[in-house]
């Protein structure tokens, strides 16, 4: 107990120092006075008495010191002393301090920002309750994208009933397109994006609504009243954050829909499941209505029971998969989900891995890059501090001579480093927070969870960690060097060229070489990523995104009493033809056509038409992506076609025609034995038993990159809109003028023809491509920025060191010039010295890059990590920058007047 009192007493004493010191002084004065009084009483004179009293007392200052030591926290006192001294010395040299703090701020700020990104995307659990229990259930990714990662209603039911590992399984409808919700509030309908989810979606994820309630099973039944959940941003934007919104009904997609709740701001469907898209509202999916026959439409997400492992869930899935049927009414479709030779299968993976697993490599590279920046900054600062300490060597020698222990001096220098590092960290936090909030608002970058990026406790902890580590890293070495100096030598006047400075010279050279090597590695990495990105931009997408744009069109092809779809098809043909004719007449429009799924966004697949007469092999699970298009769509997209395009004459009563893409044609040709392996003119069919279902291939289209830009194109098949029913209509136009200028006219034409046409967005096709490339571009830009920063720091470092060397060698240079060396020779020698150092650094850096090339290889597209051009270009860039950095000191050296140099020592 007394120990606690003692400690609190000491802490209190620390904070009330001044008062206690005054008290003590009063006490000591009283003590002396009392002693003097006593001695006077004994008969001494006042002077004698005072002298005797002081002798008896002992050292006054010593008594004070002992008192202070006994009462306070000695270490804290020393720390405070060091701190005051540090601030004073740093304040005396504002140029150095500013540069050092700036360098640290940039490096630490970059590190904080990247750590926050890594934390958000990779380390932090998903923003759901007990997120580690959530699994994404799908076969491993294949060429047909989401079509192959989804399940039918019957399959979902079977999985949910038959599995033993899950608390619950839910899912959502994977084939919604953007702007699929039409809200009629005023004269013009407003479009928004909504997603259908299974009724237990929010319960399973553990998401509580901010207002109202989430779905129940009743909301998803046949004939249930339409209900909708609003997302927080849409509720604020569209409905002005109406606090009484729950219970209100609106006309959505033609039905009176009731708002039953508002989702919390922390829930962002797009951030987790559809990066780069904004989902405005969520509706319940009626699994047992029409969607039951739509085929594979649901993605599955499951929550593990506590204590069940992933491996057990996998075994469970393997057991259940063969019982899952595509459609219970067709027994032949059972077992199609089971694994066949490594394809297909029902494979649960942790949801977190599905969401951000692909990014792991890129994030590791990014983290390494920013770590290299920090190292370069530390090396730079080490050099700066070394140079500065060399100037203060006399001061340290004096302190050592006066009794300061080596540890004390090192502690002093470490305090300096910590203060610099702390100031750099504070400024760095400012920079990082700015960068982070900017990044979090970049909705266009298709990276998951990016909108949840923020500076939180973990980031703060990381800041402290790297600030302290950096301080130790760059502060320790100069500190040890300084404190370990020979006292006598330093106290005497030393001339340039003594052993001490030569050792310093070598240290500095080593540091510069390290800097250059690190910068070289960064540059090579950035160069490779840049080259790879250029290659991606050059990829033949199979269509021409420039000067093409798309807009979603509303149409009504409903014909009551139409039994087999023929009447609808005819009505549709009329509507489409009319629209296309009017739109094509707009000046500046070169071509126009309709499609139901745009490339690089959603897609879907069904069927597997095979050459007629050839037996279909058993082991193929997935068919081609299906597009329902009109005549001229391919022209509008800029896709190349061999054969003929669809015509309006290809109607419901003429022969069924299709277009297939090159990959599919080659695949089919492998099974059929067509003359010249040419598919044009051949018959393929989904259903050999019925000749009515024969499909004639009238043309072969060049492969289009539908799923992603840098992958392989899969199989694609096009049906005419006059014979098949499209899932929606996107009007695609090719323009001679920039697309943005024609948006208004196109929309006006559409609204003239159909007043119910909502104010949809006229999107350039290029934006789809950019969106698909956005993650790659994002990483490349970041790494390039870091490489640029590293180059800047390295050049500053080189400049600093060479400049310092020239200063130290002033008299030597003066002698050389007095002996006849020309200014040009001196300049050249300095430059050669610079380049030599840089060359060593470049060689080391290149070697290190070659060794670690594997790390980056998986991020590169069509670029080898040993790409010679990049290495040579970066080496030349570094040498050039080094020459430039060394040029100014070189000129200064050449300008040295021998007389002045020799006189000043």
């Amino acid at each position: 107990m007394s120990r606690l009192r003692h400690t609190t007493g000491r802490l209190r004493a620390f904070f009330t120092r001044r008062q206690l010191d005054t008290d003590l002084d009063a006490e000591l004065t009283a003590h002396i006075d009392l002693a003097v009084d006593e001695y006077i009483e004994r008969g001494m004179t006042p002077e004698q008495a005072r002298r005797r009293a002081m002798l008896d007392f002992g050292g006054m200052q010593q008594a004070r010191e002992q008192h202070r030591e006994a009462r306070g926290l000695m270490s804290l006192d020393i720390l405070l002393q060091d701190l005051k001294y540090t601030l004073r010395t740093l304040g005396r040299d504002p140029g150095f301090t500013a540069v050092a703090v700036l360098i640290l701020a940039l490096a630490i700020g970059a590190n904080i920002a990247v750590f926050s990104v890594v934390n958000t995307l990779m380390l932090r659990p998903l923003p759901f309750q007990n997120a580690q229990q959530l699994l994404w259930i799908a076969p491993p990714p294949t060429k047909c994208g989401l079509s192959c990662a989804t399940y039918s209603t019957d399959a979902y039911d079977e999985f949910r009933a038959g599995s033993r590992s899950y608390q619950d399984v839910t899912g959502y409808f994977a084939f919604s397109s953007s702007d699929n919700l039409s809200l009629k509030l005023g004269s013009a309908p407003i479009t928004a994006t909504s997603i259908d989810v299974i009724a237990n979606f929010f319960q399973m994820l553990g998401v509580q609504p901010a207002m109202g309630r989430t779905f129940t099973a009743d909301d998803a039944r046949n004939g249930a009243a339409p209900v909708i959940l609003l997302s927080d941003p849409w509720w604020r934007r569209q409905f002005n954050a109406d606090p009484n919104i729950v219970g209100k009904t609106f006309d959505m997609n033609g039905h009176q829909t009731t708002v039953i709740g508002v989702l919390p701001a922390s829930f962002d469907f797009g951030a987790v499941f559809a990066p780069g898209t904004k989902v405005d509202a969520i509706t319940p999916l009626n699994l047992y209505g029409p969607p039951r026959d739509w085929g594979n439409i649901i993605t599955m997400i499951g929550r593990l029971k506590p204590g069940v492992s992933l491996a057990q869930a996998r075994e469970d899935a393997d057991r259940v998969a063969p019982n899952m049927c595509w459609n219970n009414k067709r027994p032949g479709s059972c077992g199609s989900y089971a694994r066949h030779n490594d394809t297909g299968g029902v494979v649960p993976v942790p949801l977190k891995d599905y969401v951000s697993g692909k990014l792991r490599r890129s994030l590791v590279v990014l983290w390494s890059a920013v770590g290299a920046i920090l190292l370069i900054a530390c090396v730079n600062l080490s050099n700066l501090l070394l140079a500065r300490s060399a100037a203060r060597s006399k001061e340290f020698a004096m302190r050592g001579a006066l009794g300061a222990s080596r540890g004390r001096i090192v502690r002093q220098l470490l305090t300096e480093s910590l203060v610099l590092s702390g100031a750099g960290a504070l400024l760095g936090i400012l920079l990082a927070v700015t960068l982070i909030s900017w990044l979090a608002h970049q909705g266009a970058i298709a990276l998951p969870l990016l909108s949840t990026l923020r500076f939180d406790g973990a980031s703060l902890g990381w800041t402290v960690l790297i600030a302290v580590s950096a301080a130790v890293l760059f502060g320790l070495m100069p500190g040890l060097r300084m404190a370990g100096g020979n006292l006598h030598e330093t106290l005497k006047d030393t001339s340039a060229g003594s052993g001490q400075s030569r050792k310093h010279e070598r240290t500095r050279s080593v540091l510069v070489v390290t800097e250059v090597a690190l910068a070289c590695m960064l540059l090579v990495g950035a160069g490779l990523l840049l080259r790879s990105f250029m290659h991606v931009l050059d990829v033949d997408l199979g269509f021409q995104p420039e000067r093409a744009a798309a807009i979603k069109v509303e149409y009504d092809d409903n014909v009551p009493g139409d039994k087999n779809g023929d009447l609808s098809a005819q009505k549709r043909a009329v509507i489409f033809q009319q629209i296309l004719a009017r739109v094509s007449a707009i000046p500046g429009i070169e071509a126009a056509g309709f499609v139901d799924y745009l490339p690089l966004s959603q897609n879907r697949a069904w069927g597997l038409p095979f050459p007629k007469g050839v037996r279909r092999p058993d082991n193929i699970n997935n068919g081609p992506l299906v597009y329902v298009v009109t005549q001229d769509y391919l022209h509008a997209m800029g896709s190349r076609l061999r054969g003929r395009d669809f015509a309006w004459s290809d109607g419901p009563h003429s022969q069924n025609v299709v277009l297939i893409n090159d990959s599919y044609a080659r695949f089919l040709a492998g099974y059929a034995h067509w003359p010249n392996n040419d598919a044009v003119g051949q018959i393929i069919t989904n259903d050999p038993s019925d000749p009515k279902n024969d499909l004639r291939v009238i043309g072969v289209v060049d492969d289009v990159h539908e799923e992603n830009v840098d992958g392989d194109a899969g199989w694609q098949i096009y049906y005419p809109a006059t014979q098949a029913s499209p899932s929606g209509a996107e009007l695609v136009v090719r323009t001679t003028l920039p697309p943005a200028t024609l948006g208004a006219s196109v929309l006006r034409t559409l609204r003239d023809l159909n007043p119910k046409q909502p104010l949809a967005e006229f999107r350039p096709i290029q934006s789809l491509v950019d969106h698909a490339n956005s993650p790659r571009r994002f990483f490349m830009l970041l790494v390039a920025a870091f490489a640029g920063l590293g180059l800047l720091l390295a050049s500053l470092g080189i400049y600093g060191v060479i400049s310092y060397t020239v200063t130290r060698q002033t008299s030597e240079i003066g002698i050389r010039m007095a002996l006849g060396a020309s200014a040009g020779l001196v300049q050249r020698q300095v430059l050669v010295g610079t380049l030599r150092l840089t060359l060593i650094g470049v060689v080391l850096g290149a070697a290190a890059s070659l060794a670690t090339a594997k790390l980056i290889a998986s991020l590169l597209y069509a670029t080898s990590p040993w790409d010679g051009v990049t290495y040579i270009a970066m080496a030349l860039a570094l040498l050039g920058v080094a020459a430039f950095s060394g040029y100014i000191p070189a000129r200064r050296a050449s300008r040295i007047s021998p007389m002045v140099a020799l006189r000043a020592n």
Partner: protein, 125 residues
């Protein structure tokens, strides 16, 4: 040549202060230092100033308390007095000292009774 004065350890000075305050009641710093000098018959090496470190230690531990007052000849000084906790601590320390000196006595008396001790240990009894 007078025998050299004994150097005082930190803890023993604290103890002396406590005892002085117990015996003398309330005293100022100078008074305590003088008293210790007198009682020890000037055999203790004491820089009077060192007492202040001792006093602040004891006060922080709660064993003594202080207040400003006036001395006999109208000097303003800080007077210290022992607290109840201090008395308890003093009693405990005094017991500890007795035990210590008792043991040390026996240890230093070891030479004279060496045979006795050895003899005792040899007997299996």
């Amino acid at each position: 040549m007078p025998p050299s004065k004994l150097d005082l350890l930190q803890g023993t000075l604290d103890l002396m202060v406590l005892q002085t305050l117990t015996a003398m009641g309330s005293l100022h710093g100078y008074g305590i230092a003088r008293r210790i000098e007198q009682v020890s018959g000037n055999q203790v090496l004491l820089n009077q100033g060192t007492i202040y470190a001792s006093l602040v230690r004891l006060e922080q531990r709660g064993w003594i308390k202080s207040e400003w007052g006036t001395s006999g000849n109208n000097r303003k000084a800080k007077f210290y007095s022992i607290t109840k906790a201090g008395r308890r601590q003093l009693a405990a320390d005094a017991r500890h000292w007795e035990r210590l000196t008792g043991v040390m006595d026996r240890v230093f008396g070891m030479g004279k009774d060496a045979d006795e001790v050895l003899g005792e240990s040899e007997n299996p009894a």
